[in-house]
Symmetry: C2
Subunit: 153 residues, 2 copies
């Protein structure tokens, strides 16, 4: 499992170097990586271009299916309610995330303060959720972004 | 205001005729229509292609900005949590919707049962929300879709 989260962290770092926000995602089916993507909101100037949305878009295209049953998504940070809901719609089986929404809210991101766990409970979604995965490595990613000069949100 | 919701209904009907789900959205800034879009999940095989996401994508591209301040979005049905959150991220001022999430859940759509009002409250979002707008016309749209043979979700 570690290598899939490492993929998500690596693509997020690539995104940060290009001037994007520090978020990455990796979608896996069985042992096959289907899609990796970083956040592109700032560089592509699109509010919906979160890492998870970009990864789902790529995965749907690759598998030619709007349903991604049997897949797991690795997110460097807990998916926001937009991404959680997109994961629900895509019928992805499981979410594994590193840092929490609360961690990035502290950094200034205007998150809707609703955790993935709360979204799952309120929306009665079947998606499995596991947090705090490789938290240390994911915190390092956020620190890398924090140190960057001229960053925007 | 009516003509903007009519735009959303018309594009949704166009989408239904092409085999898509019965949802449309129209984004307006001042008196200018910035973008209209229908749901394309089934035809483009992408789980994230809800009408509102498609409309935000088009509007961001048109205005070359990931923030759509000063805009109002007209949705034929209450935005799902994915779309509500996308609207929050895009910093759209106001949502005006017709039918409710509860109406389309009855039709078989696997909605996360969280209303836009609840999302706003829980997420402490500043976006204004007005529902039940032109409800009758929007219910007619859902009925048009219900009568269609061979529909999928």
């Amino acid at each position: 499992m570690k290598k899939y989260m490492k993929n998500a962290i690596e693509i997020a770092k690539k995104g940060v170097r290009k001037g994007n926000s520090p978020f990455g995602a990796c979608i896996v089916k069985g042992k096959t990586v289907i899609a990796v993507a970083h956040n592109t909101v700032l560089k592509r100037k699109d509010a919906t271009d979160h890492a998870e949305i970009n990864a789902i878009h790529k995965a749907c295209k690759k598998l030619r299916n709007h349903e991604l049953r049997g897949c797991t998504i690795y997110s460097t940070t807990e998916p926001c309610p937009m991404c959680f809901s997109a994961i629900h719609w895509a019928k992805i089986d499981k979410i594994v995330f590193g840092t929490k929404i609360a961690d990035v809210k502290k950094l200034g991101f205007s998150e809707l303060t609703i955790s993935a766990g709360k979204m799952k409970k309120l929306g009665r979604s079947k998606v499995k959720v596991r947090g705090d995965y490789m938290r240390k490595k994911n915190l390092e990613l956020l620190k890398m972004w924090e140190k960057k000069k001229g960053k925007t949100y």
